[in-house]
Amino acid sequence: MLLHLLVLAPFVAAILMVATSKEDSKSSSRLAFLFGVAFFAMSIALVAGGNQATEPMEWFRIPGCKGPVYYYLYSHGLGAWMVFLSCGLSLVALITARNSFEKNYRNFAIGIFALMGAMNGTFLSADAVLFFFFFEAMVIPAAVMIAGYGGKERTKAAMTFAIYTLVGSAPMMVALWYLLTVADNSLLLSFAIALQGLPAETQFVILMCFLLAFLVKTPIFPFHGWQAITYAEAPAPLSAILTGAMSKAGVFGFIAWILPIFPLSMTVVNVMLWLGLATAVYGALLALRATDAKKLLAYSSMGHLGLAVAGVFSLSEAMLPAVLVLLVAHGISAGVQFYLAGVAERMTGTRDITLMGGLAGKNPVFSTLFGFAAIMALAVPGTAGFVGEFTVLLAIWDMGPLPAVVAGFCLILSAAYMLRFVQKVIFGKQAREYEEGKRMTALEGSAFGIMVALLLTFGIHPAFITNSLHLFDEDAIEEMSKLSGQEGEPAEAIPADSLAEQASDAVEATEEHHPMTEKEIAQLDSTLAEAGFDESERAALIQQMIAADAAQANESAQANVEATENE
């Protein structure tokens, strides 16, 4: 029930928000705030509740595919924490957006709720098609909000974002479709089984298609073109959600879909590890030179996520909790930094850090929070970031000292750019006279403060996160194999029957198996006739068919027809 609520209720909330006034941001913000708190509470309940799953419901069948697509939600530790991030960051975004947009707050809230629902769906779906559906659905509200509320180049940013991510995941859709035609249904287990039976080249192509989608979403080095401009142009609350929760979908995909499904070769693992590290270094280097506050943060997120991906592909035993802690820590700290950058932008009217400065004297509370957030991002021990980065480094060390040294180099660079950022924004003298923008409100401040406090808590006691992690427990596997069993035996189980052997080249078809009825025989007869067989041939074939059926052949009529046609 909780899972259904978390995935579907945000959309309902979005629809309900339509009923509120467009002009009066007060009333709509109250309702939005209520909803946000409710979802956040639900996400906490989800995290606390451990693994749970819904009853798999058949959603639809894709023509040409063997099994149905299920509406099947499943929450494991990883997904639950990502949902926590998505709900929590959305709540803070709703709070801080109230001070950023005078009008049209309602539409923003609608967008946030839609985005939240899609993200929750992505992190909770146990069915590949459902996952892909939400994975794509995330893009649309985000792009619309960027186009509606962004900075100067908002249309360009929205287009770049939408096209990049949608095109990136298009190959995944094709691969998914292909997998659906060979697998029993669209669940994880049957995919893994189906992939075992495919030739290595096919496996590789499918793997590439899947990887591309996640590489673009994360983003990893050569595919990061959309990221900086999107995060920079998007309104700050949205940027925080994008980096804090949505970009996690990429890493989540690597962990929850790539690793269990594909038998990875060492080359791929190495390439991914180094791509992750390259991203980490590259992001840090770009952040060193960035002058746009939000671009700087965007590059910094890119660096951290690169590190996370490198950690994932270290395939160490310690990888999963390490990466999870890193992701949660980064989600919160990058989120709060984006919010604070948004507040700074509001106060100074610019995003250029060379034009800021001196906020420490002007607004000490803000600066304290800003400094705190930066320290959290630096992964000083005692914060969650440290636990994440240290354990990820530990995992990477398993692959050899060199990757770990590179990762360590990134940590040094991250200190360099983050301190530069802090210095430029809050220290020194004011670079120019600011027009007095809206200051940080108490509600905002306390929300940020709570986020910072959370980071400290997780840093001292990371067991909150690491203990909740049982990626696929027995029940879920059982449930999935039960679903697979309904649809027929796995592909390898086809007996070496003479007909089956003929058929195996044409299609590896397995369909439901029960004694043939008269009606079916008549149907078969007419099908054969349609295919142009004469009376005697038809009779012989049907005889053969019934014999094979009696011998418990696990062979479908359709395959039989096609096999004989191929002769």
């Binding site: 590259y282 360590g408 530069r420």
Partner: protein
């Protein structure tokens, strides 16, 4: 009273941090800052409480120490670390002077920071620093030590950049943090290396020594020696960062940008010695690694000599003290390099007193001169500020190793251990003694330029020179007493070995293996040391004693070859670190990013051209399109039929 929980010690300053931080944040909005009396009281009471509990614990500590595990920290597959505290001989000494000097300096700061806008903030940072430092020395595992390790680095950053209106302070703070970060990564990788050798348990100090005992007992040292050496080297890199040794020493002179009490507490007495503490704490490990030990000794020698020379060239009073600190740290490292961990900790102990006294004295001088730091504009202050002058002169005798003062005992001990360390011992000893001479020269120069001769500043500023208030003088006097008598905790020749006995359970095993060649009469060393100090003072008197002092012009930074010497490592960093990274960043930003954007643009352009072509095809041709689709359907049907499919 031994059942006092250990976590109480770090808790006091932590509570102080939270309270003062809250006061600082809340009062930030108001025009007038918070009441300085209350803040000052809060700022001092927590360190004092911590000091009191340390004293209570130290009193009744059993020989083998106290161990308390608080809770689990990280527990994931392959890695499990607890939060636990270890109170033994080594941490007892460290804690005593950390909390003691910390309390004194907090008291001093009340006077020094009087009237500053960030009064509460400053003490919040000081308390946070004390918390981190206590965690650093009290923890029972490397990971928790690392928490303190980065924590003190962070506080150092915050306090150097305390006056953040001035960007040069911020730059110095950034430099300190980043250079320290390089060392910290070494520490971190060192921990990973250790985990590879023996699992996450051996991050605990007790398990580590048990593990090493096991290795020695089983004769397996050879097998893991390369990995252990790597780990040791990485830890040593961490120590060079924190303790400002070659090559990561450039941050410490710049760190003098912070308030003077900070320089005294963090950048002289406590934080910078944490590297030495780590070496001593892991003495068991290091004593197995001859290569690493040799490197440590050489680095210590080179740093001591280089920094002493650099100290000779400075005009800024605090810079002199900073280089002097680096030089003294070099002594401690050489001692650690010859496995004389107790001697190095002893020097840490005495150095903390006299260097803190020197810095506080320098702070009082600067306070008296309203912010003037250039020694060329001082002089003759002996009459104007007699107490400060006395304190600094006592501390001066201590640092140059004048017989009877604290530095005499510890420095002689180190030099003695150097001499007896092995075949290279006499060479090391020679360099050490030469450095001692130079130390005496530059310290005498400082004292002469500051307190003797006639005042060289402007006339009107002379009117305002005044002695510091009592809250500043009391800590200075206490410290100077320490500077005189701290050495008697371990005066071999007088038969006082309290210090050594206290440390023996911790570092004794590590030092047992160190070779002692021939026993030389300690009086010879004492005599030579005294001679070095006197020679240095004599040279200084000859050179600087005359009234011929160069006219102060422009900044206090050294010029010419002096600058080359002083900023040698800054330049090395620039060419080996900053410029390559900048070039890489430039390549990434300007070259790679542009190429990627060009590719992106090209793909977009191709798609647009194709789209335009298709659009042109669409115009006014609805029927043509329908016809084409009919033809397409026909072709599809034909294909299906020809390939044998059934419709």
């Amino acid at each position: 009273m031994t059942n006092l929980p250990l976590w109480l010690i770090p808790l006091f300053p932590l509570v102080g941090t939270v309270l003062l931080g809250a006061i600082a944040v809340i009062s930030s909005g108001s025009k007038k800052g918070p009441a300085e009396g209350i803040v000052g009281f809060l700022a001092v009471i927590f360190p004092v409480l911590a000091f009191a509990s340390v004293v209570l614990l130290a009193w009744g500590m059993p020989t083998e120490g106290l161990r308390q595990t608080l809770c689990n920290w990280i527990d994931i597959p392959l890695f499990k670390v607890d939060i636990g505290f270890l109170f033994d001989g080594l941490s007892r000494i460290m804690l005593l002077f950390v909390t003691g000097i910390g309390s004194l300096i907090a008291l001093y700061s009340i006077g020094y920071m009087h009237g500053d806008r960030g009064f509460a903030r400053f003490f919040a940072y000081i308390n946070l620093f004390l918390f981190s430092m206590i965690v650093l020395v009290l923890s029972d595992s490397l990971l928790l030590t690392f928490l303190g390790w980065e924590g003190v680095g962070l506080c150092s950053y915050l306090l150097i950049g305390f006056w953040n209106k001035d960007l040069s302070n911020c730059k110095a703070a950034n430099k300190a943090f980043i250079v320290n970060r390089v060392g910290d990564i070494g520490f971190l990788l060192g921990m990973l290396c250790l985990v590879t050798v023996g699992g996450s348990e051996i991050l605990n100090y007790d398990s580590l020594s048990a593990f090493i005992q096991m290795l020695i007992a089983g004769g397996h040292v050879e097998i893991v020696l390369p990995l252990l050496s790597l780990a040791g080297l990485l830890f040593f890199i961490g120590c060079t960062g924190k303790s400002a040794q070659i090559p990561l020493l450039t941050w410490l002179p710049d760190a003098m940008a912070g308030p003077t009490p900070v320089s005294a507490l963090i950048h002289a007495a406590t934080m910078v010695t944490s590297g030495v503490y780590l070496l001593a704490r892991m003495g068991n490990l290091f004593s197995l690694l001859p290569v690493v030990l040799l490197i440590i000794t050489l680095v210590g020698l080179a740093t001591a000599f280089w920094a002493a020379m650099a100290g000779l060239f400075q005009n800024d009073i605090k810079k002199v003290l900073a280089y002097s600190t680096i030089s003294q740290l070099g002594y401690m490292f050489m001692a650690a390099g010859v496995c004389a961990f107790d001697a190095s900790i002893f020097h840490v102990f005495t150095h903390a007193f006299f260097k803190a006294a020197l810095f506080l004295g320098a702070g009082a001088v600067i306070h008296a001169l309203a912010g003037e730091q250039d020694m060329r504009k001082m002089g003759g202050l002996l009459r104007k500020t007699p107490v400060t002058a006395c304190v600094m002169i006592f501390a001066f005798f201590a640092i140059i190793g004048f017989p009877g003062f604290a530095g005499f005992w510890s420095k002689d001990l180190i030099l003695e251990r150097l001499y007896t360390s092995g075949p290279m011992g006499p060479v090391f000893y020679g360099i050490g003694l030469l450095t001692a001479v130079i130390t005496a020269v530059y310290m005498s120069r400082l004292i002469i330029l500051t307190f003797f001769g006639s005042y060289r500043g402007s006339k009107e500023s002379e009117e305002h020179i005044h002695e510091a208030p009592a809250s500043m003088l009391i800590p200075m006097v206490v410290l100077s007493i320490g500077a005189i008598f701290a050495g008697y905790f371990w005066a071999d020749s007088l038969g006082m070995t309290m210090f050594k006995d206290s440390l023996a359970p911790v570092v004794g095993a590590a030092q047992a293996g160190a070779a002692h060649m021939a026993h030389v009469n300690p009086l010879i060393f004492a005599g030579l040391g005294t001679l070095a100090a006197l020679l240095g003072m004599f040279i200084a008197l000859k050179v600087y004693g005359s009234s011929r002092v160069p006219e102060a012009k422009g900044s206090s930074a050294p010029e010419g070859f002096k600058a080359d010497w002083t900023f040698f490592f800054d330049r090395v960093h620039k060419f080996c670190g900053i410029i390559p990274v900048a070039v890489l960043a430039w390549i990434a930003d300007v070259v790679v990013e542009k190429i990627l954007q060009a590719i992106q643009w090209m793909v977009g352009a191709i798609a647009e051209i194709l789209g335009d072509g298709a659009a042109a095809f669409q115009v006014r041709k609805v029927r043509l399109q329908l016809a084409l689709s009919v033809a397409g359907v026909a072709i599809l049907v034909a294909v299906v039929l020809l390939t044998g499919g059934s419709i």
